[in-house]
Symmetry: C2
Subunit: 435 residues, 2 copies
């Protein structure tokens, strides 16, 4: 059979499954709506579980083998002829940020399921297992405070989770530890703690994640999909704080105050200015303070604020820029704190180094995009993803971006079904090539 | 009788009442403790009412005439021989900021009561009524949001309260309007609205307020009391806001973001720097952002923040500095907002011009302090007080400060009983001279 016929059959098979893809995403959306706008699917919470339940039912219906691991990650497998050959995995997460968009994560999990179904529909008997994975708790930085390294579901599956994180990651809503949250959801934190992990470089050949783009680049370039070159590293502080002293906002001379807000405003503004300089010099860096709160139990219009809590999120493609920036942040805080008679406690900063996507996989994606007639430019990825954890576990990985017309972590996030189809086609063709 | 004998009799009479003063303040403290530290006495709430109840009982016991006005201000009167002659009033407030100190306000109300009792104990038959006043809702900026001009109790008594404020001031805890809060407390908002006010320049000869100092100046100068020269004017915004747009904190290029926190940090830092320049040039100005919050229902470590709410408190002795600074604040907000593609809505700004204390009264206070052997330096007042409202109603006024060893609007606020005695002695001698 000529390859053009193969391609036509693949396209027809994907198109046959596309209504299911749309239905799964729509049902997930409808069942996890937030009254305040967008969807809310807490890690190890109800909305995330709805996604897993939908995927389990659809995979079972399609006669894929469905399993879960100790941390609750779900696997829908088209078994290979040799089960011992390292498997291929595609997947993403079902949880969301509070009042987030419907497609961040869910699109990639559904795309993986549809692509693996397509392989089965085409009658492929792959050499190794071909697996669609629904990953837990990728958005855990929005849901778990305390000490943890993020991406809890994939890191548990890959053995990257430190046992201590099971006890120090605390769910913001339920106040339960990660271990308790895993057990509450019906899984087995004891087995997570004990190991060995299910996935490793020895038993996974490669990982591919489809994800909506979380920025406006594809919209501006007017293309439906892109191939990711690397994932930005991050420095993140969840529990940064500035401690000054409360006093009367009129009666205490300014020089004698210990004003936590004025100190924090200076720190933020100086870090921003430094990042501006880095970008002007051609470096890649972005900076945000997502949460910033004086103490609502004590603060008042007429008090000098004595306490401010905030988060820090610095991201960069280049470890040689990111790591010195992390040090500079502390230097600024120390200098400003000493000068203003306040104390900055930036708390634990989680550092994730930038991760490169596999060159050979990217070449295959380019080739398949060419066959499909898709532009598919290469671009860096600004956000963290489970794919980065697979790279950290020495599993070669790659990513496909799908155009998002409304940004991300935002109720306005939106993906056209036609763009999603392009992404699933590219994913399915890639997996066919690898199967 | 020689004046030195009069002075000795006055001192003895004050000292005889001093245990009552201490007992009233201690009972008030014990009954309004906040579990989080300090005391909490909401305007038109339980803690404030405890102060009024204690004052009513003590005044009744001492055979003073006790009345209230429509807004719930309480008056303990030693009747004059001619009830039609404009009265003298001394007083202060019983409410506090959340987790505030016990003496801010309460010391002045208790001092007024003790001083009027002393006049009675000395057998004085004053020409005009001599009145101790417990004022409502001086700390209302900590308790009522929405549109209002502050100092609600004294402004109601003086006819300075606009009827609309009865409906637009909203209690932060109960969500009741000021009118409803007045009625809930057992008073008569309809009468407040209808008028005429109880107090006016025609029926009040003068007003004197004793208050703890709310800064550290008397501690540094090692004196127990001071005489106030003027009260700083204020520009206050209770509901300032910066509106940007939420987006992903990694994936959106920095230049395309609409980050409300980075914009607000720049505004705060620039206003602070400008105030530093004013002070360096010899002007008097202080600046604080007492409350600062991203939206806890939406914010997240991994989102660019799209909304920040904050308060602004600028204070200055000189209207020629304060009013241009208020304009500059808006100019800065407009410029930063346009440049960063966010929108600042600073909300209604309440402007109170600086108010001077009466020169002749200050001279009498100096004279009496000299007789008592008290240093009593003159100093400006950084905080707003009800005395400023009496001045705005064209009633000549003055203030006595008492040393506070722990700052104010703060659980660490502290006043030594010996310093309080000096303050009450000065107040009683002043009122004797005026009676």
């Amino acid at each position: 059979m000529r390859s053009v016929d193969n391609l036509a059959r693949t396209i027809a098979a994907v198109d046959a499954r596309l209504p299911l893809a749309a239905r799964l995403l729509e049902e997930l959306r409808a069942r996890s709506l937030d009254e305040g706008g967008g969807v809310t699917r807490p890690s190890y919470g109800a909305g995330e579980q709805i996604g897993h339940d939908l995927m389990r039912a659809a995979a079972t219906e399609a006669e894929l083998a469905v399993t879960t691991d100790a941390a609750g990650n779900l696997y829908a497998t088209l078994p290979g002829m040799d089960r011992a050959t390292p498997r291929w995995i595609s997947g993403s997460h079902f949880d969301s940020v509070p009042r987030g968009g419907n497609f961040d994560g869910a699109a990639g999990a559904v795309a993986a399921l549809i692509a693996i179904m397509t392989l089965r529909d085409l009658g492929i008997r792959p050499r190794q297992d071909m697996v669609a994975m629904a990953i837990r708790a990728e958005e855990c930085s929005s849901w778990f405070s305390g000490q943890h390294g993020g991406h809890l579901g994939s890191r548990a599956a890959l053995g990257l989770l430190k046992p201590s994180e099971l006890d120090t990651a605390i769910h913001l809503g339920t106040k339960r530890t990660l271990a308790q949250s895993i057990d509450d959801a019906g899984f087995d934190s004891v087995a997570v703690r004990r190991g060995p992990p299910l996935l490793s470089a020895g038993n996974v050949r490669g990982f591919i994640e489809l994800h909506i783009e979380q920025g406006p680049v594809l919209v501006r370039e007017e293309v439906s999909v892109a191939i990711v070159t690397s994932i930005r590293g991050t420095v993140r502080a969840r529990d940064a704080r500035c401690i000054g002293a409360y006093s009367h906002s009129g009666a205490v001379p300014q020089a004698l105050r210990q004003d936590a807000v004025l100190a924090t405003a200076e720190l933020i503004h100086r870090v921003e200015q430094y990042c501006d300089q880095l970008r002007a010099a051609g470096d890649d860096v972005v900076f945000a303070i997502g949460r910033l709160h004086t103490d609502a139990a004590v603060d008042s219009l007429s008090k000098v604020p004595g306490d401010v809590r905030f988060t820090i999120d610095l991201r960069c493609q280049d470890a040689n820029v990111l790591l010195p920036l992390n040090s500079l942040l502390q230097d600024y805080a120390d200098e400003i704190g000493a000068r203003r008679n306040v104390r900055f406690d930036l708390g634990k900063r989680a550092v994730a180094e930038p991760t490169a996507m596999d060159q050979a996989f990217r070449a295959v994606l380019q080739q398949q995009a060419g066959l499909l007639g898709l532009a598919a430019p290469e671009m860096p990825c600004g956000a963290g993803h489970d794919a980065a954890e697979f790279v950290r576990a020495n599993i070669p990985s790659c990513m496909i971006f799908v155009r998002n017309t409304g940004e991300s972590h935002n109720p306005d996030e939106y993906m056209e079904l036609a763009d999603f189809r392009d992404g699933i086609l590219l994913l399915a063709c890639f997996l066919l090539k690898m199967a």
